[in-house]
Amino acid sequence: MTAPLPSGAAGFLARYAALRDVLPGDPALRDAAADAFRTGGFPGATRGRRSEAWKYTSLRPLADLRFQSQLGDASLLADDAITALLARVPTLDAPRIVFVDGAYHAELSTPPAWFARFAEQPDFGTLTWPDREPLVALNTMLAADGALLHVPEDTDAGVVELVHVSTDGAAAHPRHCIRLGANARLTVLDVAIGSGSYLHNPVTEVHVGAGATLTHARLQDEAPGAFHLATTYAGIAGDATYDSFTLTLGGRVARNEVHTLLAAPRATAHLNGAQLLTGSQHADFTSVVRHEAPSCVSRQTVKNVLNDHARGVFQGRIEVARVAQKTDGYQMNQALLLSPDAEIDSKPELEIFADDVKCSHGATVGELDVEQLFYLRSRGIPDAEARAILVRAFLAEALDAVTQETVRAALEASVERWWERQAA
């Protein structure tokens, strides 16, 4: 390795200066993104500059860290440590695509025929906003690889596992694209794991074609020292469904940001999730649903279970444009605070410009219901066990939203392992 890079944003910009000529894709786009990132920097890292979108999450800790970015194929990295990490990934009877530190790992993968790589077909897509989102700018500037999952029309592509493994000290900016042709079906289990302290900054662009259905389940089980900052942009065509669920278990600072565009009549989006946080973890679930066509449906339930000093953040906005009559939007955010030092910040937002709509949101914050607890205790169940039963019930309700059974089983197993870790 050459001389160490500067820390924070300057380090990434220096990295870009060195790699500019070898990175795939349109350099003009990357240059523009680099300018945006230079101007924006990490949210919260510049004193006196506040951003409403990042009101409750600061990336100040990132500004002091140095990372390496891996370039090219990752096959050399296949070692026992990675194999051990992969053992934590739920095993489905399905094709598996593995990335290590942002690069495709052929040896560990069993890809479907329609899989392609960003490194070979670089395309930055049409939905993302590097000029508005500093992390998308960072990704656009440095993305070297990613998964392109293009399912042809009228095809049921079953289930595929997309796994990203991070190693200590790495910064990965994978650029994924999932595209479903008309009436196609696909289920993606998107898993993020790793060890040590690292940055995983994926950007995923999703296009669900007319009448198609994409089930997008994410399991974020990163290492305790990780920064996981995922941004997804989904465009949903008429009569199509984007059904997503994000289970957040890991990371030091995590943010799952989803922008959904309901672009044609009768499109449906489900943006559900659960965040289970302990220690001093900070996890942020931010979503924007744009209803830009009539008769679309959006549903969202996000649950937080917060222990120790953990801090959960939920920001959800439903935007209903003038043309989007007959919109049906629902949003619910619930938080269970299990310790005196846990914190929840919740901001559900409605922005409505059409009159014939049915939109509602709700939020509840509190500890376990003492009456429910009393009920269980009165039946002889010890306090700790009674509490565990109630938390499980609270979570089970969230996971019910995952309708694809194998995927739900995999997520439930991960929650189970999370419980075991808490007990240990």
Binding site: E52, R322, Q325, A335, L337, L338, S339, P340, D341, A342, E343, I344, D345, S346, K347, P348, E349, L350, E351, I352, F353, A354, D355, D356, V357, K358, C359, S360, H361, G362, A363, T364, V365, G366, E367
Partner: protein
């Protein structure tokens, strides 16, 4: 009558009933030169023969204001305000101030008469004129009338004084009760709290001062009626209400302004302090001129209202009916410091034509067992935008705190917008926070039901809207509730059909 004339008459009557408070009073005014600088502040302070500490306080606020920027986070849109193009002091001539109602300029009395606020010591609110016998049976209301920059009359002062209640213009309180004013002024809304509060602190001219001593239940409703009349002025009133231990007061506020094509600025600050077991009920019917159907003119209502529940079991309740103003930027809030203190916010905000309202509340829970309730009803019609923006914050020490929030929006027509932006921050697990919001339009079946019973569409909408707002309207004192219901109907005129 020829059809054309008839049409013209109808059109005229509709426009006039749209805002019947829009007349102008021709009265000789004492105006400060336009512009804002230290000299103007000194001039205001001098006119009011203020003590040195208050001038110092104003200058401090001005210095802070110069360094501040206008807030841009609200969903409101307006051309840049030229703060140098305003008169910061406008008072009807014939000073020094009248000591009794007989000395008040008859022109002013006529103005208030026209507004339905007769400044007589047998006055009651709303335009109802009861017979003598009936009148005696009614609870009287004490009124402080603020005309542009100064208070022109305060009724029932003697009766109140006997009960130990102080109700007078704040400019007088500065002279008569300097220690009280000094002790509390700026303690709830600090001089540099926000851009408009700092501006107000620098240039405020009048407003009401209320002090309810320990254990006293104020014998009548107190009311301030604000009137903007002069051209190119801003109104910057300051209200301070202190309720000592175990006391109770109900305070009402009303406001109107002439119809003009220019926008006028109203930047008030209201501070409430409730000590142990004290209760303050603050009701507002905000009816500033909203501008015409094309969005020309109207008041910019940028107001900071905050109450401190300092004492244990103290309670502050805000009820507001917001129908006027071109732009409303207003968040009546409660800082719940006392143990088991209670904050309430009941709001109806109606926007029509090109009005913009960004309003809501903040409930800051600091005391153990503090409770708050928020009920907000937003109604948007025409090309208007109506935003609820609220914060519920539970501090780590606020064990057992409780909040319930209900925000409902109603859209009438497809060119308006309704927005809900709540912030919920909880740092105590024993606190319970619940928030619910809905957005909908008037249901076809409800409308049909009313129509088939012979109501016109407009009356049916009025009825349904009143039902939608019932939870808030029932919190208003009776006279105000009647007024508010009429206002709702007027505000929504022309929004259907």
């Amino acid at each position: 009558m020829p059809a054309v004339t008839e049409t013209l008459d109808t059109v005229q009557s509709v426009t006039q009933s749209g805002y019947k408070w829009g007349f102008e009073t021709d009265i000789e005014m004492d105006l400060a030169p336009k512009g804002l600088n230290e000299d103007i502040i000194r001039l205001i302070s001098e006119r009011k023969r203020e003590p040195a500490w208050l001038l110092e306080w104003r200058l401090q606020a001005y210095a802070a204001w110069l360094k501040m920027e206008e807030p841009h986070w609200a969903r409101v849109d307006h051309p840049k305000i030229d703060y140098q193009d305003l008169h910061y002091y406008a008072a009807p001539k014939k000073k020094p101030g009248p000591r009794s109602l007989d000395e008040v300029d008859p022109e002013l009395l006529r103005t208030y008469e026209k507004l339905g606020i007769p400044l007589k010591e047998r006055a009651i609110l709303a335009g109802v004129d009861p017979g003598e016998a009936e009148e005696a049976a009614r609870t009287p209301v004490a009124v402080d009338a603020v005309f542009d920059s100064v208070s022109v009359a305060t009724t029932f002062r003697e009766t109140l004084r006997k009960a130990g209640v102080i109700f007078c213009p704040i400019s007088e309180a500065v002279h008569d009760y300097p220690d009280l004013v000094r002790q509390y002024l700026g303690t709830v809304v600090p001089v540099a709290d926000n851009f408009y509060a700092a501006l107000n602190s620098a240039v405020f001219t009048d407003g009401s001062f209320v002090f309810i001593p320990k254990g006293v239940r104020c014998p009548m409703e107190l009311s301030t009626y604000f009137r903007i009349n002069a051209r190119s002025t801003g109104q910057f009133e300051r209200t301070l209400i202190i309720a000592e231990e175990g006391s109770y007061v109900s305070y009402l506020e009303g406001c109107t302004a002439p119809m003009r094509d220019e926008n006028q600025l109203h930047a008030a600050v209201v501070e409430l302090v409730a000590l142990d077991d004290a209760q303050i009920k603050y009701s507002t019917v905000q009816n500033w001129y909203p501008g015409d159907a094309e969005g020309r003119g109207g008041i910019y209502n940028f107001v900071t209202k905050r109450g401190a529940c300092r004492g244990a079991r103290s309670k502050i309740s805000w009820t507001q009916v917001e129908t006027g103003s071109a732009i409303t930027w207003k968040y009546p809030s409660c800082v719940l410091q006392g143990e088991d203190s209670v904050g309430e916010f009941y709001s109806v905000a109606v926007t029509n034509n090109h009005q913009q309202a960004d309003t809501g509340t903040k409930m800051i829970h600091l005391g153990r067992g503090s409770r708050s309730t928020i009920v907000s009803k937003g109604i948007s019609a025409g090309h208007s935008n109506n935003t609820y923006r609220g914060l519920v914050r539970i501090a780590p020490q606020a064990a057992g705190a409780r909040n319930f929030t209900q925000c409902d929006s109603l859209l009438i027509g497809d060119q308006c917008g309704a927005h809900t932006v709540p912030y919920i921050e909880s740092r105590n697990r024993t606190a319970k926070v619940e928030h619910e919001a809905t957005t909908s339009k008037i249901a076809e079946d409800q409308l049909f039901y009313c129509r088939q019973r012979g109501l016109t569409e407009e009356d049916a909408v009025g009825l349904i809207v009143n039902g939608f707002c019932k939870d808030v309207l029932k919190e208003l004192p009776m006279e105000f509730a009647v007024e508010a219901q009429k206002l709702l109907a007027v505000s929504l005129e022309g929004s259907v059909g």
